[in-house]
């Protein structure tokens, strides 16, 4: 078992293990912090997949941005001191449905993942993906890039409006 393999299993365990904690923990703060480790594990997987730029983006945006946002959300919508932190699950029938549906979907996806002849080809050696991604974003994906900025603008205007307390 080489190092890559070991690293893979480590990051995979990190991702899935904390992922499980995220969705199962009764304490919302535990969940939020577990999410951090999940994202970290994913970033590790990206590295293993030669996506260095993405790994860094993952850490910066997710951990630095989204997760902070979420923790803010937790703070603003939960009485930290109260019992509320321990958020329950929904009703048992629905929970049963959730388990079933999730398991069915997971099984199906795994069957598909392992059984399919994917479009695979040997990867050329790449040193840094940042340049390639940058070129892509400013050439082929220029429109998408610009549209994304527009989207962010809309999101800012909208979120700001909704989150404002008074008109």
């Amino acid at each position: 078992m080489d190092l890559t393999t070991l690293a893979f299993y480590f990051f995979a365990a990190l991702t899935l293990g904390f992922g499980a904690v995220v969705v199962m923990s009764r304490n919302i703060l535990h969940a939020a912090f577990s999410l951090l480790f999940t994202f970290f594990g994913i970033a590790g997987l990206y590295v293993l997949l030669f996506a260095d730029f993405l790994a860094i983006t993952q850490i910066m945006i997710y951990i630095g941005g989204i997760l902070i946002l979420i923790i803010f959300g937790v703070m603003l919508t939960t009485h930290i001191t109260g019992v509320d932190v321990k958020s329950g699950r929904t009703g048992s029938i629905q929970l049963g449905g959730a388990v079933l549906v999730t398991l069915a979907l997971a099984a199906t996806l795994i069957i598909i993942a392992t059984g399919t002849a994917w479009n695979e080809s040997p990867a050329p050696e790449v040193t840094s993906t940042a340049e390639l991604i940058g070129t892509s974003l400013l050439t082929r994906y220029l429109l998408a890039f610009e549209a994304a900025s527009m989207l962010l603008l809309i999101a800012i205007v909208g979120a700001a409006f909704i989150a404002r307390k008074k008109n």
Partner: protein, 102 residues
Amino acid sequence: MEIGLSHYLIISALLFSLGLYGVISRKHAVMVLMGLELILNAANINFVAFARFGGMNMDGQVAAVFVIILAAAEAAVALAILLNIYQHFKHVNLDEVDQMKE
């Protein structure tokens, strides 16, 4: 055993399912949002893995970049809306926000 594409895909599938489970089963809306993030991350693992094993196809990584951007925007808007819900209900338990039905 060589770590191949399917390993990543299985991780992604499991993460996707975990995310869905979170969305479905958690009462607290913020936890639901966390589940959503897991879903999007699962898709991203797919994109990146396919990019890697499909001959370093950068399209996959670019797609993942966009997904991350959108996830951020979505999270922001969703949290803003949650705050608004909190104003009304004094909680964000999704199963109790069901005034409109049938």
